[in-house]
């Protein structure tokens, strides 16, 4: 696989919250092929000419105009794209990684995100609506000030908010909201801190027992095990998560991005960054 970059113009920059903005690039090659969950890399060079790649989740794509956006979050001093102005051109590479996989039978999908991690799931909402599915987004934030603007989500999405300080929506963690939607959702997709992902994995594992649903049918002794990272492993799982380990090479060579899986170490850039929750040892990630 080539990690060769294309040159893309920064066509729009929109500040959406303190320390959060959407940067849109004209990169038709990425826009036509990207799927939700995948990342692109922006290549940056320092004063010594050292090229470093920064991964950003693909936030939205518009294949008709060739525009692809990323949700940039973090304090200004850590802003890797600060040097770019609208109209500037920068090398981008991607899309990389394996996308979310939605089961064709799924009609209701639940997206669960913490803070700016909503940017990792945003494109999935578009994809699901296009395919006629119903989408609910559960978002957790510190306070009302940090809540992702509802205007950035498609109108058809049901949007439910939890804030840690109780200033908007449910007071407490976004994970508290999940049990109310477990029966409704056919599949869930999550992005956020390792602690949140660990909590959600535990909820997902105990879901059927808590809901009083018995597994019917004969238990197959040697059920077919899907290889880690395979689309079918994700498609069949109730919870898919996107992990955020830095992707330095995106070519599966540096081994900087590994994550603990039940079947051994997995590379976020090759087998991920989207995984079925059951593929990962999320307790250790948490």
């Amino acid at each position: 696989m080539s990690t060769e970059p294309v040159v893309a113009e920064l066509v729009e920059r929109r500040v959406i919250l303190p320390d959060q903005r959407i940067d849109a690039f004209h990169a038709p090659a990425i826009a036509v092929s990207a799927r939700a969950g995948q990342v692109l890399q922006v290549l940056l060079a320092d004063d010594e000419g050292l090229v470093v790649r920064r991964a950003f989740a693909i936030n939205t794509v518009d294949p008709s105009t060739g525009v692809v956006s990323v949700h940039v979050a973090g304090p200004a001093r850590a802003d890797a794209l600060a040097h770019l102005r609208v109209g500037d051109r920068a090398p981008l590479a991607g899309p990389f990684g394996r996308p979310f996989e939605v089961d064709p039978r799924t009609t209701h999908i639940l997206l669960i995100a913490e803070g700016a991690a909503i940017g990792r799931l945003r494109l999935l909402a578009d994809e699901a609506l296009r395919e006629g599915r119903q989408v609910t987004v559960l978002l957790g934030a510190q306070s009302a000030r940090d809540v992702y603007p509802s205007t950035l989500l498609p109108d058809e999405v049901e949007y439910v908010v939890a804030t840690v300080d109780g200033s908007l929506g449910h007071p407490g963690s976004v994970a508290d909201l999940v049990p109310q939607y477990e029966a409704w959702a056919d599949q869930t997709f999550a992005a956020g801190s390792p602690a949140l992902l660990g909590k959600l994995a535990a909820l997902s594992a105990s879901r059927l027992t808590r809901m009083g649903v018995a597994k019917l049918g004969r238990r197959r002794a040697a059920a077919k095990v899907d290889p880690p990272g395979s689309p079918s492993a994700r498609r069949k799982s109730f919870l898919q998560v996107v992990v955020e380990l830095d992707v330095a090479c995106a070519a599966a060579t540096c081994l900087g991005c590994v994550v603990d899986g039940h079947a051994g170490l997995l590379r976020a850039c090759r087998e991920g960054p989207v995984f079925a929750a059951t593929e990962l040892s999320l307790e250790t990630v948490a």
């Binding site: 696989m1 990690t3 060079a45 090229v51 090398p91 070519a251 599966a252 540096c254 081994l255």
Partner: protein, 376 residues
């Protein structure tokens, strides 16, 4: 000692079977659209950018690293930067570079260090991958055949925590096609010396080199650490023990903290510093080593531009490897090889040999081990 045999690499076979690779693009392409000050000056001695090339003379950039290991040019990919190479072949332009040194490989597979394993530093990278690899047998099974068909020599980087294991691995490489040479990573803790790195002590470094030299006729590179109190003594010991060439330098231990300062950024706490931040140290160590031994030195540490390549040649390196900079820009080594060729042509040189050692004349009186900064 056993008779030396010539190592067959794709390089010198090409006449027989023809290249296994499609015809190379003449020039490796630069990263498009990247606005970076990569054209740091100091080229062609004068500081001016090179204008139209002088009428071309036949150019020979080949390097002899000993025991029959010939490279088509003096630019290598350093260990750990591009794994086993095969994964990165689309970006690498293997037909344009001198050699690829693989990820560190151990006798048995290792799962490496806890994550995070990498952190950014000013003009560099701190890594603690921890020799994550599937083990020698699996590596050979997966890659050796492909390496044998590759148009560039592959040097296998070996790591172990005792002398016996280093030698055992070397023995298992005898007769395996696709291995052009071995590089011993002596920045490994020596289990029999309370975990002190082999590369820090001349006698430990010599013991490993001797054992491996007895075990194999393969071209043998020994990789030294910039943390050695006296790199000259270690280099001499290694050269006297049968090394064909010395690689210098490996990373230097460092620490980066998490943003909230509650813990180290890396799972293992400490990591190895690489990239341009390491370069002045690497340049000093290569200078010291190259003035102390007669065997070739393969230099590395923060190479990102042709100017850095010329610096390392000037202090006496025969060849130069690119590590960290190739992670983000895997086409860089091939581009540097092209640029070196252009530079030689612009200067009317028939090879890069006259660029080697130009800065060695001004030798310091004392080794760095005696301290540099406070000497009267």
């Amino acid at each position: 000692m056993k008779a030396r045999r010539r190592v067959v690499t794709a390089l010198d076979r090409s006449g027989g079977r023809g290249p296994a690779w499609p015809a190379p693009p003449r020039k490796a392409r630069p990263v498009p659209g990247l606005q970076s000050p990569v054209s740091r000056p100091r080229l062609s001695g004068s500081g001016e950018a090179v204008a139209a090339p002088v009428p071309s003379v036949p150019l020979d950039l080949s390097v002899d690293l000993g025991s029959g290991l010939f490279l088509r040019n003096p630019i290598l990919v350093a260990s750990g930067a591009l794994g086993y190479g095969i994964e990165a072949e689309d970006d690498l332009a293997p037909e344009r570079i001198g050699a690829l040194v693989t990820r560190g490989t151990t006798l048995r597979g290792r799962t490496g260090n806890p994550t995070p394993r990498m952190a950014r530093t000013p003009s560099g990278l701190l890594n603690a991958i921890g020799l994550h690899n599937p083990g020698l047998a699996a590596v050979l099974e997966r890659f050796a055949e492909q390496w044998a068909r590759w148009p560039l020599p592959v040097i296998l980087n070996l790591a172990a925590d005792n002398v016996g294991e280093f030698a055992e691995m070397a023995r298992r490489l005898e007769g395996v096609p696709g291995i052009a040479g071995v590089e011993l990573n002596l920045s490994c803790p020596n289990a029999n010396r309370g975990g002190t790195l082999f590369a820090l002590e001349a006698d430990s470094a010599a013991a490993v080199t001797t054992a491996v030299r007895r075990a194999t006729d393969l071209p043998l590179l020994v990789k030294l650490s910039p943390a050695a109190p006296d790199p000259r003594a270690v280099a001499r010991a290694v050269a006297d023990s049968g090394a064909d060439a010395i690689s210098a330098v490996n990373t230097l231990p460092g620490l980066v903290l998490a943003a909230d300062r509650s813990r180290p950024a890396l799972g293992l706490a400490y990591g190895g510093l690489s990239g341009p931040a390491l370069r002045p140290i690497a340049l000093r160590v290569v200078h010291e080593i190259a003035t102390s031994v007669r065997i070739p030195v393969v230099a590395m540490g923060g190479v990102t531009t042709l100017s850095d390549v010329l610096d390392f040649l000037a202090v006496g390196a025969q060849a130069v490897a690119v590590g960290t900079a190739a992670i983000g820009d895997p086409g860089l080594p091939a581009r540097l090889a092209d640029e070196l060729e252009d530079e030689c042509q612009a200067r009317g040189l028939s090879s890069h040999l006259s660029l080697i050692g130009t800065a060695q004349g001004h030798r310091p009186g004392n080794p760095s081990a005696r301290g540099a900064e406070y000497r009267p």
